[in-house]
Structure formats: structure tokens, C-alpha cells
Amino acid sequence: MARAVTPRRKALTTAAAWTVGVLIFFPILWIVILSFKSEGDAIRTPIEVLTSAWTAESYATVQERSDYFKHFLNSVTISVGSTLLGLVIAIPAAWSMAFVPGRRTKDVLMWMLSTKMLPPVGVLVPFYLMFRDFGLLDTRSGLVFVLMMINLPIIIWMLYTYFKEIPAEILEAARMDGAGLREEILYVLTPMAVPGIASTVLLNIILAWNEAFWTLNLTAAKAAPLTAFIASYSSPEGLFYAKLSAASTMAIAPILIMGWFSQKQLVRGLTFGAVK
């Protein structure tokens, strides 16, 4: 039981926590504010920015100039697609390791995680060339595959930790009840693991959404997701604060909102099941 604290102490800690929270959040808040200002006002001093007129014109300009929705759809396709594809491969693998562990299960798991440590840059060139030769450069399917592979170890690892919490007896009961492997996974394991699968899906969508190495290097225009869309604002246009802010707001808003709504599952997912 947490002990009662004096209201004075609670007020102090509250003030401290809120100050820190707002400071951490401030850069995001600031771009949202700037995105609703005119270019001229956006570069003034903070006080002047806050007191100047509000306008949504930057959003219109950005959409007109670089077709936000195309990039948005690319991001959705790539992040959701790679995550779902990853699940299809990871669920059976995690089932194997969690419920039929062998002497080498631990090693296999460690090995899988270690492929995640392979620096992407070490294999960028071959990928670039293979993508070029297979005509996958700047395609969404190419990126779906790459991001699926990137996150596969994490998906397997997370599912494994969630599956391990499910008592094996329940799966055995299903087996005694006449369920085959397919029924066992489809009707018993998967529904029971829904919270864990949800956390896994959420975290991986976020990771894929924000992935900015492969998406930048393997796309040009057609399949470019929001990471690339925003990177195109990097040098000269960077000086147009209002437009940059509007573009940034649009790039992060979907995932930010999704993240906030699913905070609980996400925190569970973030800890990779390693912290209870």
C-alpha cells in the first residue's frame, strides 16, 4: 500500500513532474503551434509567435506540393503490411520455442535477436543492388519485405515471451479435446494471446513507421513513406518553418495518436516482456 503523503509534498512533486513532462513534450507542441502560423510569423521570437495570428495555409501548401496522402498510404501499407506478414511467420516460430523447447531453443532465440544487431549499413550495398536487379527499388512490396525481416526477430521474441506465460496444460487440454495443431493455434493459443499480440503489433507498426534507414535508401518517389516525405524538407525548405512544421505534424500525428490511445498495451510491448 502506498502511504498517504501530505498535500504539500504532492503539490511539489506534481509541479516538478508536470514541468519535466511539458519540457519533454515541448518540441512537439512547438511544431504544432508553428504549423498554424504564417511563414513570416513562424521565425519570430517565441512571444511574438504565440501572439501572432493563426492560419492553416501551410497545410494546404504542403499537401499541394508533395501529396501527403500518397506518402501516408505508403507508410500505412509498409508498416501494417510488414507487421502482419511478420506475425504470420512469427506465431508458429514462437509457438515452437515456447511450447516445445529443446536444448537449443535459447541459442536459436539469441541468434535470431543477434541478426537484429547486424548493422544495416553493412548489408546496404548488396540490398541496394539486389533490389535494383529484381526491380524492387522504390516499391512498397520491397519495403514490406525488408521491414518485415528487420522486425521479425523482435516480433518472435515478444510473442515468445507472451506465449510462455500461457500454461502448456491448456494447449494439452485442447489436444486431448481432439484439436489438431491448426485448431490448437487458431482457436486456443491465438485468442488467449490477443493482448500480447496487440502489444507486438503496435510496437512493430511504430518501429516500421519510423524506420528511416531502409526507407530512405531504397525509395525515391513512388513508394516513399512519410520518413522520406519529411526528409525532402531537410535543406533549403527547412527554413520555411511553418511548412516544415505542418509537414512534420502530419507525419507524426497518426502514430502519435495511435500510440496515446494504446499506451497500456504499448508499455507492455516496450518492455519486451522482460520487465513485469
Binding site: I24, I89, T115, L118, P126, I206, T227, S248, L270, V275
Partner: protein, 290 residues
Amino acid sequence: MATKASRSAARLMISPAVILLLGWMIVPLAMTLYFSFLRYNLLMPGMEEWTGLTNYRFFLTDPAFFDAIWNTLLLVGGVLLITVTGGILLALLLDQPIWGQGVVRILVIAPFFVMPTVSALVWKNMFMNPVNGIFAHIAKALGLQPYDFLSQAPLASIIWIVSWQWLPFATLILLTALQSLDSEQLEAAEMDGAPPLKRFWFIVLPHLARAITVVILIQTIFLLSVFAEILVTTNGGPGTASTNLTYLIYVQSLLQFDVGGGSAGGVVAIVLANIVAIFLMRMIGKNLDA
């Protein structure tokens, strides 16, 4: 749970993942290794020839290489230090009874959702820009000379930006771990006469050890390959002041089209990453098992 039938089913079920990851590892690795022994420039197709270790000699004697290694280590170490320390402090603060804890949590977690390109652009332009950035405005208001963060202290600035992105992750994991600490343990320690600082040192910190391990492991994986933040802010400059290994190889192979040299760099990066990985795997192998 272990009949022959279930074991063979298990092998079948795990094989797609194993085969894919094995291919994912071996095919590009073999290609990278092969390219690293070639003189191979994308601007001169058809001119590939075997050059033995030349690429390695060039890459390893390039002063930029050592700068890049040093910068990579500083970047990873710096961010880990800031996020772990900051994360512990923040977690301790958020674990106190406060009004509106849910909202504060939402505020703190937010940077994690921001894609690296956006956070780099925002910090670079809206905050660190020496003319119109907020820091410059504040400096001017205080009568000081604005400081050009990205050209004067490029690496520190990038460490700062990356730390901002990863602080929420560390905080959340540590907070979760903190909340699972049995308060009776702390009360027992209090009864035993341990002052707050000692309680933190002897009870809270050991309890967090596992969570800290997780933070270090996961973050290192991502921090070793920080790329977008550098691409968007400093392009590795000035000179090589903020070039890490990832960025150096990127420049070599995709900007200078020197596939051979870039591949040699890639091999070196993989070797170095493996050294770190072995070290880390040992650590989690011990710590995550429990």
C-alpha cells in the same frame, strides 16, 4: 508436451523464420564480403576487378574511419548515459503520487513516436538554428551571442537529439519496473533504519538492474545504426566531426558510388557490431533468464 509428433511439428513451424533469417544474414553478408575484395564503382560498370585487401587498407588507414569509430562509441555511450540516468530520475519522479499522472505519462512518452527525420529537423531548425531557433532567441533576450550548436558542437547536439527520442523508452521501462517493486521491501528497509539514499542504492537500484539491462540492450541495437538524424542535421560534418560508422559507409558506397570500399567498411562495421553483440548477449543471457 514433448512427443515425437509435437517435436517434428515444432521443427516445421519454426523453419520459415529460421530459413528467412538465415538467408537474410548470409546472402547479403556473403555479397558484402565478396564486394569488399573488388574494385567496384557504380560509376564504372563492368570494370570490377579483384584487388585483395586494398579496400580494407584504404578504409582502415583513412583517418575518417577512426573518427567514425570514436564518434559511434561517443554517440552510443553518451545517449545511454543520458537516457539511463535521466530515465531513472524521471521514473522515480513519476512513481510519486501526483495529480494527472496519466497526462504526464502521455507527455513524456510522446517523443518515442516521433520519427527520427522529424525530430532531427525540428531540433535543427526550430531550436538549434543560430538565427531563428528558440535557443538563439533566448540567448539574444539574455544579451548573449547565439551559439551555433550544429557546427560548434555537432556530435553533442546529435547526442542530445537522439537522447530526447530515447528518454521516453528508458523512462517507461524503468517506471514499469519500479512499480513492480514490493513496497513492503522498502518499508522493511525503513524499519531497519535505512535512509532514503541507502534505500535507493541497496533496494531500488538492484531491483531495476534487469530493466536497465533491457534498456541498454535494445537501445544499443538501435543506436549503433543511427543514421537519419545525422543525414538530416549535419551530413556528418563539419569534416567528420559527427560522422559515425553507419554514415561513413553510406557516404562511401552511395554518395561516392565506391561499392568496394563501402563493402569493406560494412564488413568492419559487422565485425565491430559483433563484438558489441557478444558482450551484450552475455549480459542479457545472464540477466533475462531468471
